[in-house]
């Protein structure tokens, strides 16, 4: 803040010209959330609303021989019973094939709204009941008789590709969805064959259940009077869902569908996708004559019907010389995609994984082969970080394994192989730079060593030997782990997507509309969709900054396809860099029109109007001025308009980013492992991140905290477990260990700031950074702690049982 003495004489305009962007303003969303006035999907009650429940398969793999719904139809309160054959809709779309349009064979199978002939995972929907109350709907499910013919199941992606494994789909021999390759296969092979040192390791990146605290749900309402549908959905992408539900699933014209996303209680990727239930509530509402139909999944249901994340089995080979120079990285990965494909399932372990496998390092040779695999499990798609945590885990474990092999310090080997700061824009060998029709994506910027140095200093890395010795006296094995990461985010240039057929197979620009009302109050409407990130606050900061008005004068609307310009939604850490830039662009259009109108009001040439905050004055005559409020009032009335000018300040902008953005940083985890019990305690966590310029540093820190906690969760506790028959054994929050308050330390954060050159904010995106970096940092710390016992690798999660068993075996005892 400005000094108090000055503040007395400063006008509102000059105060804001210091700029709301960059300030840690409190969030304007919060009053409703902290007083219980949030409006989440399940809080919505509509007149005449009925309730839907879904009968789900108890088998992981079975044929449906018959379904008898007569008993359920006779149950109290039941309005309708629906089976798959009743629904004339198409199967759900799959919008991101592996390899885009490059010709990679993708053997696609997606879910139907309700399964008709067979089920491919435990929890696939087979029938539904609409009833007066949720309880009646659930009770009636019990009266539906399904005859099943159980089939053998397979849950492990690597085993599913082997001879003799149960086959899921006729069009996918050996359960292979695709085999996708990136990088230089022969060059990498040559580098590995001729290298002084080669380290090999099998890595399992276990399956995770994302667990936003609000489960998913939808309300469908068919209006018989207008023949239009409204769907309230807990979604990150209401505009995309309208497109997919209309054009691909139901055939209902897109303009007759309205999607509304109310307050969303966390998402982390799970709410990006087109789910069967969205179409089901549309169908059901029409079936019951236009009564609204609500479906909200239970948590147990969610564990089987909402996407899972990760689930890779990888074989890595890293080669180089004893001086620590890496010559090549080769990775073969089996990516488990579940029983049928989710909306962008194949895109996650390919472009968002293989293409960033080299991380922040200058590896001359990289090659990655990914086999996407069907198994009898819930579908896998984007979970916070989506491919990039998996890539970071591989490369950061690889760096530690190589360092261990040649006896080099993990910090030193990273330093030696970092891309130097003069490398940018950098065309990385694992393929994001791959040119298709001349369209390339480059790593835009980076300066990795200062972040590493800062993190090491904060951690007291130089004194780690004595810290370890001190812990030893307390019966603790102390380990320190590094993770130097980059991520690709701010997705994505539409022309690149168009050229390579990646992403949604569609553009990925973003939209913003600014209207300034007669009173000077501003409504910004955006195409992105918050799930807790505070867009209402940060976007008002951006617009207030650009137009020189108090943030209180800007309100931010979103989440309703009616009235909002089309937008691609929020995921891939894109909202600030792409959506924020759209808001800046819209503000620029408004400013330009206001400038031209000010010239009209002040009888000057537009070229002579100077804009300072919200003040528009004539150059050389500072007394001749109009405020934005005065301009918006006059142009809004339109009593006097220059030739050809339309009344009102109302401008829409569509921003297409010229490139993705590339946050980076180094995280350091310090763990202590109890020598007796194997319990791992995360004692310190240090994160130095470079996310470019920050709109609201408080919100940025919060995003990092949350991402770090989720990544730590994967390393230490979380994991979805299926038995060999495809039964999800970790089927409730009792069996799936989510991080709790007492398991985590305070996080120690710092920053370096390298503004992104690709957008006017210089912002890169921060929603996923924490989750991308932290899993590898904690994993490396645990292995470092165990390394005195000769342990060089363990698969996650590092539960006490896993660690204790490994320690016992290493010590030569029984386990």
């Amino acid at each position: 803040m400005t000094a108090e003495t000055e503040a007395d004489v400063l006008t509102a305009e000059t105060q804001v010209s210091a700029g709301p962007v960059g300030q840690s303003l409190k969030r304007r969303e919060d009053p409703r959330f902290i007083t219980g006035e949030g409006n989440y999907l399940d809080d919505i009650k509509l007149a005449g609303m009925s309730h839907l429940a879904i009968l789900r398969s108890p088998y992981a793999h079975a044929r449906i021989t018959s379904i008898d719904t007569s008993g359920a139809k006779a149950m109290p309160g039941v309005l309708a019973v629906i089976v798959g054959a009743d629904i004339p809709y198409n199967p759900l779309p799959m919008a991101w094939p592996a390899g885009g349009s490059s010709g990679v064979q993708n053997n696609v199978n997606t879910p139907r709204v309700l399964a008709t002939d067979d089920v491919k995972w435990t929890g696939e929907g087979v029938a539904a009941v609409v009833a007066e109350t949720p309880e009646q709907a659930a009770d009636a499910l019990e009266a539906i008789q399904v005859d099943w013919e159980p089939l053998p199941a397979v849950v492990d992606a690597e085993k599913a590709t082997k001879e003799g494994a149960p086959q899921l789909h006729e069009n996918a021999p050996n359960n292979v969805v695709f085999v996708w390759k990136v990088g230089d296969e022969s060059g990498t092979a040559a580098a590995i064959d001729s290298a002084e040192v080669v380290v090999r390791q099998r890595l399992v990146n276990q399956r995770l259940i994302p667990n936003p605290l609000e489960v998913r749900g939808d309300i469908g309402w068919y209006n018989p009077g207008t023949d239009e549908y409204t769907i309230w959905m807990s979604s990150q992408t209401p505009h995309i869902q309208r497109l997919l539900l209309g054009a691909f699933v139901t055939g209902i014209p897109e303009h007759k569908i309205r999607c509304i996303s109310p307050d969303v209680g966390g998402a982390f990727g799970t709410k990006i996708f087109c789910y069967a239930d969205m179409a089901l509530v549309m169908f059901a509402s029409k079936l019951v004559g236009g009564r609204p139909v609500k479906w909200v999944e239970t948590r147990r249901e969610s564990y089987q019907s909402t996407i899972h994340g990760r689930d890779h089995i990888s074989y890595l080979e890293i080669a180089g010389s004893r001086d620590g120079t890496i010559a090549g990285l080769r990775v073969k990965t089996y990516a488990n995609l579940g029983g049928r494909l989710s909306t962008i399932g194949p895109g996650i372990p390919t472009t968002l994984y293989g293409r960033v496998l080299a991380g922040c390092y200058k590896f001359p040779n990289v090659f990655c082969e990914v086999t996407g695999v069907y198994t009898n499990t819930t579908f896998v798609d984007a979970y916070r970080g989506a491919g990039r945590p998996e890539a970071t885990y591989v490369v950061e474990r690889a760096m530690d394994l190589f360092a261990d092999e040649i006896g080099m310090d993990p910090a030193e080997i990273r330093r030696r192989n970092f891309l130097p700061p003069d490398s940018f824009p950098y065309d990385n060998p694992s393929g994001l730079g791959t040119a298709v029709n001349g369209e390339k994506i480059y790593i835009d910027s980076g300066n990795y060593e200062p972040a590493l140095d800062k993190a090491l200093a904060m951690a007291g890395y130089a004194d780690m030997a004595s810290t370890k010795a001190e812990a030893r006296t307390r019966g603790k094995l102390l380990g320190v782990g590094l993770s130097s990461y980059i991520e690709v985010c701010g997705v994505a240039p539409s022309k690149w997507i168009g050229a390579v057929g990646e992403g949604w197979g569609a553009a990925m620009w973003e939209s913003a509309n600014i209207r300034i009302h007669l009173t000077g109050k501003i409504i910004l409407t955006i195409g992105t969709q918050p799930q807790g990130q505070g867009h209402e606050t940060t976007f008002s900061q951006i617009v207030a900054q650009e137009l020189g008005v108090p943030v209180e004068d800007v309100i931010v609307q979103h989440s309703d396809t009616k009235g909002a310009p089309f937008g691609y939604g929020s995921y891939g850490s894109r909202t600030a860099s792409v959506g924020g830039s759209a808001a800046i662009k819209a503000a620029g259009k408004v400013r330009e029109k206001a400038r031209r109108y000010a010239a009209h009001m002040l009888e000057a040439s537009p070229d002579d109007i100077e804009v300072d905050g919200a003040t528009y004055s004539v150059r050389g005559s500072p007394d001749k001025k109009k405020t934005l409020q005065e301009i918006s009032f006059a142009i809004g009335l339109g009593f006097s308009l220059p030739e050809g000018m339309e009344p009102y300040l109302d401008e829409t902008a569509y921003y297409d980013t010229p490139n993705c953005t590339w946050p980076f940083g180094t995280h350091v985890a310090i763990v202590e492992i109890d020598d007796e019990t194997g319990v791992v305690d995360l004692v310190r966590y240090i994160a130095v991140d470079d996310v470019g310029n920050k709109i609201n540093p408080m919100i940025v820190d919060g995003q990092l905290h949350g991402g770090i906690a989720q990544g730590v969760g994967q390393a230490l506790w979380e994991g979805a477990v299926y038995d060999d028959n495809g039964q999800l054994l970790s089927g409730t929050m009792m069996d799936y260990a989510l991080p709790r308050a007492s398991w985590l330390p305070m996080f120690e954060l710092d920053e370096t700031v390298t503004p992104s050159p690709v957008n006017p904010l210089g912002a890169k995106g921060v929603g996923e950074a924490g989750a991308i970096a932290s899993t590898a940092a904690v994993a490396n710390a645990v292995i470092d702690a165990l390394s005195p016992l000769g342990i060089r690798h363990l698969d996650m999660p590092y539960t006490a049982q896993t660690v204790w068993r490994a320690m016992s075996q290493a010590k030569g005892g029984q386990a």
Binding site: L141, N725, G731
Partner: protein, 146 residues
């Protein structure tokens, strides 16, 4: 899941065999069994309520005496369904004579459980199943030894 065990019953082998092959008799010993319906000589249906942890479900079980070699060996197959859950089982028992009029039954069973019961009760299934099996045999023994 695989279970196996041995039970000694103080009753002659013929009587034990006859009891075990009578669905009405043996069925009543199943914990939570509410009704038995005989379909034919080798098929019957049972309704049973099973609770694991905080959930319980009413199963409709289709049972089949798949193989009978009186009075030595029998194989039974069962398929049961409850809302959102299913169970498939195959059990084999062998009878032999011991001293003092005791009949020894060696049995083994393979059970697979699917759906809600599997995902929610996974940690508790083994324990619950053991308890239910023990109860069943206690009941059979008590009735035969009475």
């Amino acid at each position: 899941m695989h279970f196996e065990g041995t039970v000694d019953i103080e009753a002659p082998r013929d009587r034990v065999w006859a009891f075990l092959m009578d669905p009405e008799q043996v069925g009543r010993c199943g914990p939570g069994v509410e009704s038995i319906e005989i379909v034919d000589e080798t098929h019957f249906r049972a309704r049973a309520k099973v609770g694991i942890g905080f959930i319980s479900a009413r199963f409709l079980m289709e049972m089949e005496l798949a193989e009978q070699y009186p009075p030595d060996r029998a194989v039974m197959k069962a398929h049961g369904q409850a809302p959102g859950s299913a169970v498939d089982a195959s059990a084999e028992m062998r009878l032999s004579d011991c001293a003092n009029g005791v009949t020894r039954m060696d049995w083994e069973a393979d059970v697979s459980i699917a759906g809600t019961i599997a995902s929610v009760g996974a940690r508790l299934i083994q324990g619950t199943a053991n308890k239910m099996i023990a109860k069943t045999f206690d009941c059979i023994r008590a009735k035969l030894e009475a």
